[in-house]
């Protein structure tokens, strides 16, 4: 698998991928990831907004035939997580037995390795969600 072209492609998303920072428009709509125009009302007056990282599993799957570059991790669970602030985020689930995953399961964000590129390549980190620790 080819190496990523530029490290910059990944570090420009550090805020989103490490701290779950999205956007909030002047009318109070929050969304993830950050973008210049509010997807709800079209306002261009948008500021950064950090999500709590708490949410619930909306739907999930187990990826058994991954895209190249992810073979090493298979099978892995992938889910749409609805954050407590409303927006939905796609991410892998981690630290969980696939048998235990269910819709509505309470999860929280953690930072994990998402992928690595060969011996001399970069390592990508980002958000994943795990069942809430009690």
């Amino acid at each position: 698998m080819a190496r990523p072209m530029q490290v910059s492609r990944y570090w420009r998303h550090f805020r989103e991928k490490y701290r779950l920072i999205g956007g909030k428009c002047e009318n109070g709509h929050v969304f993830f990831p950050y973008r210049q125009v509010c997807p709800v009302c079209g306002s261009k007056n948008v500021e950064e907004y950090e999500f709590s990282g708490k949410g619930k599993v909306l739907t999930w799957t187990i990826v058994r035939n991954p895209p190249s570059g992810f073979e090493y991790y298979k099978p892995y669970p992938l889910a749409l997580v609805q954050l407590e602030e409303g927006p939905v985020v796609l991410a892998q689930l981690t630290d969980v037995d696939p048998e235990e995953i269910h819709e509505g399961m309470e999860v929280e964000v953690v930072t994990r390795k998402v992928r690595e590129f060969e011996e001399d390549g970069i390592i990508l980190y980002g958000y994943k969600f795990r069942p809430v620790l009690r």
Binding site: M1, T61, V63, R64, N65, P66, P67, S68
Partner: protein
Amino acid sequence: MRKAVIIGAGMTPVGEHWKLSLRDLAVEALLKAMEDAGVDKVDSLYVGNMVSGPFVEQENLGALIADWAGLGNIPAVKIEAACASGGAAVQEGVKAVLSGLEDVVAVVGVEKMTDAWPSDATRYLAYAADAEWELFHGASFVALNALIMRHYMKTYGYTEEDLALFAVNAHANGAKNPYAMFKRPIKVETVLKSPYIADPLKLFDASPVCDGAAAVIITTPEKAEELGVPKEKWVEVAGMARAIDTINLANREDLLTLKAAKIAAEKAYKMAGVEPKDIDFFEVHDAFTVMAALSLEALGVAKKGEGAKLAREGQIAIDADYPIQTMGGLKARGHPVGATGVYQTVEAVLQLRGEAPNQVPDAEVGLTQNIGGTGSNITVSIFRRV
């Protein structure tokens, strides 16, 4: 306003074409369509293709295919709208004719997918998703559809068996299509016993990785007459539209509504002056079984949440009220992604000419719906017998 008619159609069988390249397939389909129309030159060429760059290291398909098909120094471009590239290319061709800028237009859809390793193919197909926010996390295209499938089943109380009925119907129809990749009927058990690719989505819920090309020739009725094309061959493009939705599945307003299809369908129905009940057959985009169900709902054939019920009630077979996938659909005919929308068009043309191997009796109006992404870019076209 000018009218557009399709006067020629051609295709290659869909399959694993080890001996043929992308250009071989495209040229073959194109020449067949031109021969069918009885034309030896066209004013322009539109090529529907999704990912030729990664798959075969070839872009600039307009020049490549026009050159190799001997079409001369005409304008020729590639049209890309993910898996809806073919449907979009047909619509761009029709627009060129309707605008009056071009009189005879060729459209070819082509995709060569089997030259890549399977996991690379999985990656390239995921380029239709959001690279930074979906593919980054290891989402395959199948996985994204599996998320929708589970949510659909959970929300409306359907089982894997219910959705399998769409695959069974597609294979039953594909069995009669000599151009289909899978010419074998299957049972519900075949689907249920197939391995999970992304739970609850199984191998037989999904369309195959394959190669193929299909082509049509579009012109005006006046020009068709001038060219001496017999009227039995004409098929009118009665209505067409397309729309987009969020590229990222997570950003959808409603995971279970193909909003882009709904908007496009409403416009296309209006343009053609028809309602869903007037349509004699539907070639919907069943890349995954759940997509067939959601498509029927978006097209107004079934109420929201009742798409899969139509399959359960036997309403989607050739001799039922709403025949779908009359030549096998993406599931059995095969889904060479950027070519699929053109295959659907060719199949609609054959149905409306009464030349289909699996003929819908007295078909007068047909609809094709081509989905790009997980519902992010959708085309709807309505065709009518002249």
